[in-house]
Symmetry: C3
Subunit: 347 residues, 3 copies
């Protein structure tokens, strides 16, 4: 969607000062404004930027009077923040696919689609899937046999979903994420060769979950890998087979959770954290980035850090000493010399 | 595939107790049973679950007599474990593509395909490729020029394979993995700008290798990046250019191996491990999760841990002290005070 | 492209010794030569390999006289290295798509394409995009609304680009990378549920940037995530929202940079490094693999290591002591015993 300044002004019930023909395709920040965008000045602290911004349109309060010439077209409004939120919301729909199933998608007659779903070109949907109302499947998505997708779900391009996955209402899955791949499960035989364990479990993603780009969630072995409702998962995260993640938990980029572990509710997992298999993380635990968690002994709300992870403050205190270790060694050696010479003296 | 309880019972030569019409689309665990699945009770320890499971069908031994009402339809069989293995195997084929080349795939006339290969819609296969008998290429796969794929290979949706890759018999490559991308190789020029080193080597994946979702294996610079036979690689793993991995090695999720390193046979690499470039890891070495391996000095079968990695037990012992460091510092300070006061006394 | 030995010899103005019919599809290293490839012998130190290589063709100097029978066809040339570089360059173009827009791609009439662009099958290009001269879009690529792509850009199969992204001249983006996904931004409400922050910013990738396979770069929240010119990013890297990366910086595989951080020019970031959000890394800083950087206090050109990262040499010195900690504890305990017994004596 592209609007010109005058059209935008009308939508905002504002007052136009300057060129109404300038074309706008999205919002920007005042200090990083780009031609073709609209930005805003709400806090007088940032007024200097108003005179230098490259944004084409600048939202200001009704009472704003420039102290210098301004290149941007001004739109004067009553509530600058409110107007800006309206704009962000409006342009965030930019390029959103329309309802309808592309002629260039493959879908099986056994599938059940709500009448207002959108399925993009080059997407492939296997037999016995169902997709709920207002859900959007972008192009180039693969959805395996028997998958059930709720309402108002958004699945971005290139996402691959293995069979029998369940995805709750209002979930968002970002590009090239993979849901339901086989877990890393093998039995070594007598020669130490790995024999594959068949994975026939599934992934259940409850409502309001968001999953980042290129993240992978493996299916259960026999049972379920579950992502609790409202949980948010960043990019490039690994969730192994049979993991059970509670509600409203946040997992930052590149973290990994090994097989069969259970994560509580409202847990916060930092970037690149590793969590060992078969452990249980209590509710509201907060795990600092890059930590390695090998045990579930930490109580509710604990804040942990380190490799292996310990109490956050304890790690910081130990690490403070770690940085001084060469000095402390010198002090130990000095003590040894003093005692040795004291002994010698005595003899 | 969907069976009803009566059909399933017949396949298992069992005895039906209850509603034979219940529909089954897969197996589950007794304590996590879902409607539409079949589960089993083999160990009497878990009998309580039999009365509460949500699974539609429950496999039990011939002699089983319920002590309470059971909602699930029962199928009584001689060998409960054997029957369950049969079921897991049967449903694991669910949704598997049939042989045949989709009209919606692009293939080049110069390619050689066994008559029973399966190539899915929206897959693109460049010139001079060959694919062996019973191999399955799911939809949306890209296979670069001159790639050679063996028999009974499974390539899941969205996998991208660069030119001239070789993939052995019975390999499995999970969704959105990338094989044969250019290595991270540049020469800085006088101004410190990076000049790309052309990568014209290849990737050779030997037989019985499994590669996880979103994993990346870079091609050799001039020569070969090799994955030895029977090696299993988890999701989101990075294998850099010219790496050589031995047979029957296991690499857990999010591990990374830098350029030109050589990994032995039967090595076990934990999740998020990093291995530096140009080093050699001996056979049967076991690397604990998140370790950083900077040297190849560890002997065959060594178990290592840490950052940088050292002997596993040594790391644990040192880390045990690390956690107590603030206390030890107090003890050093106490010693210093005692010696200082002893000295003073003497004067 | 496949050449036989005689054709190759002619291109190199060389002298053929042996079978001119052997078919060549690429280069290889002498010690890892494969049938169907050409290799070279420039350094006499490696002459032994000439008699055992499996390569089909061997480039040698004009004066080379074999001491034993050689299976490979020889091509004698004046400048062996120069000839080999010519060959590497020649075959590196192998399988490169031709200009033209595939009938099997979807493009919007509002897009502007230079006449010599290549757009592969099953690629989908949304409205109001532009693509510059000689750029190559491989199959199965998705390009969101309003994206601007420069000249001589290469976008490999499966790349997904969100709306309004800007990609500079001569950039290379490897398979299944994702550019412009929503950042990991939420506001917790009173119940601790996460409310999504709309992301309407963009990604700007300047000229001569290379981005690895399965790497993810999130869009700005309101403003821009920027990758400076000449910067090279390896596979599976995470670049969060609002990050600003300077020119000619190198980021190795699986590194992650959290939101709103600023990275200088000519910085070198090792594999699996984590950089916290909202910090600033000075120019030419060198960060050792797996380090966790929590502060921007390091000066230009600093070399850092550790978790959290400190000066490289300091970390190594402290870690050297760490490895000896159990011994040092024994020395502290010995001191304590000596002082205790000295005290006792005195009493």
């Amino acid at each position: 969607m592209i609007l010109n300044a005058a059209q935008l002004c009308k939508l905002l019930h504002g007052e136009l000062v300057g060129d109404g023909e300038k074309k706008i395709h999205g919002p920007s920040q005042i200090d990083k404004g780009r031609p073709g965008t609209v930005t805003f000045l709400a806090n007088p602290k940032y007024e200097d930027h108003a005179y230098t911004t490259n944004a084409s349109v600048l939202l200001v309060g009704r009472e704003f009077v420039p102290k210098m010439p301004i290149q941007a077209t001004l739109i004067k409004v009553d509530d600058v923040y409110g107007a800006m939120m309206f704009i962000v919301e409006k342009f965030s729909k930019n390029g959103t696919p329309q309802p309808g199933i592309s002629d260039l998608a493959v879908t099986d007659p056994s599938c059940q689609f709500a009448p207002d779903v959108s399925i993009g070109a080059y997407s492939f949907i296997e037999s016995e899937c169902s997709i709920g109302s207002k859900s959007i499947i972008y192009p180039q998505v693969y959805i395996g046999h028997g998958t059930v997708i709720g309402t108002e779900v958004i699945i971005y391009p290139g996402v691959k979903i293995y069979p029998n996955t369940q995805i709750g209402d209002r979930c968002i899955i970002h590009a090239n994420a993979v849901i339901g791949s086989d877990g890393f499960g093998y039995r070594p035989n007598e020669e130490g060769h790995y024999v594959k364990v068949n994975h026939v479990g599934i992934v259940i993603i409850e409502e309001d979950v968001e999953i980042g780009a290129n993240t992978v969630i493996d299916r259960g072995t026999l049972s379920v890998t579950r992502i609790g409702k409202g949980t948010k998962i960043d990019n490039l995260v690994q969730i192994a087979h049979n993991v059970n993640i509670g509600d409203h938990t946040a997992i930052a980029a590149q973290a990994g959770i090994a097989g069969s572990s259970e994560i509580g509710k409202h847990v916060r997992i930092g970037g690149q954290v590793g969590i060992a298999g078969h452990i249980k993380i209590a509710d509201r635990v907060e795990i600092q980035a890059q930590s390695g968690v090998h045990t579930g002994k930490f109580g509710e709300g604990a804040r942990i850090f380190g490799y292996p992870a310990i109490n956050y403050n304890d790690y910081l205190k130990s690490y403070a000493v770690f940085k001084q270790l060469p000095d402390y060694i010198k002090r130990i050696e000095a003590l040894e010399r003093q005692i040795a010479s004291a002994k010698k003296e005595k003899e």
